[in-house]
Subunit: 196 residues, 2 copies
Amino acid sequence: MSDRLDAQFAFLMEADKLKQVLRATTLADGSRPENSGEHSWHLALYALVLADQAGPGVSIDRVIRMLILHDLVEIDVGDVPIHSANGAAHGSDETRAAEAAAAERIFGLLPDDIGHDLRALWEEFEAAETPDAIFAKSLDRVQPVLHNLASGGGSWTDYNVTADQIEARVGQKVARGAPRLWDFVRTRLRAYFPDI
Amino acid sequence: MSDRLDAQFAFLMEADKLKQVLRATTLADGSRPENSGEHSWHLALYALVLADQAGPGVSIDRVIRMLILHDLVEIDVGDVPIHSANGAAHGSDETRAAEAAAAERIFGLLPDDIGHDLRALWEEFEAAETPDAIFAKSLDRVQPVLHNLASGGGSWTDYNVTADQIEARVGQKVARGAPRLWDFVRTRLRAYFPDI
């Protein structure tokens, strides 16, 4: 029992480092960059509050579990923003390999049974093939849009993002799991992107 | 639909402010105070990882939902630490009334059906009478202990906390919902509190 709890707490202390990983997106008021720990909390709250936007067969509790875990690999790899000078790195083979190695190390801190279950949930999120993972990914993509809208442009302005890029990098992903959500957000985006 | 989504997003933007509420506890490395948004994420992860410490009849998914919501009232009231110069305010009638008013305002931003459900979950957590709420409270009390242990004393040193105070303010609450967890943590506490 003691060895098991030692491993559980070693993982929870390691996870604390996610609070120091900074994202390209700011808080809604633009005052500072958001960190990946508080971002993960906010997304879990999104899932609770926007459950009525999920398609049939989606388990909100599984979505919440995925969102709690989804960024842990950033402790080793850092955040790889979709709008940035280094945007091509997002989803590249190299980034995926680094994230898989991070998952091996970080989930490997846990007792085998727990580590196996949590890693499987993270892999399901990454693969974005199940209804739960597709909805979770939609929330992950839509949250920064709301922050950029609230803070006056944020990373869109910093990187001269175009309407086509927003549609390709964000819109298609949000619409895949939450089509009415994207319709709603798109009407707000016209203030920044008249052609969207 | 549009009015409903307007309300859901107004709530989610308001919730963003929880990332700016600072706690008495630091990150595990002592580098800065923890905020209540990232704290709520960390606790949800505690629930996932320490599910095997929950008693019979506990639903970990309900515990996670409670922990995601549990500190939202701090947007209006701030964090009221148990170890502080103002420690008597924790759980006082005045603090409880302020938190109830905050819950009225914040959950009131949501569409009625969602606001009602989430507020009920927060009230269940606060009342600490159901197995789910009791376990959630145990996790909320044990997490700062681990950070103080990791960072060399933290708020215990700042406020000259005694072994008796730790037992009364922390130990009894943790042991109520997760007795084996408290046994385990207490052995680590002896480095700071030889009499515990």
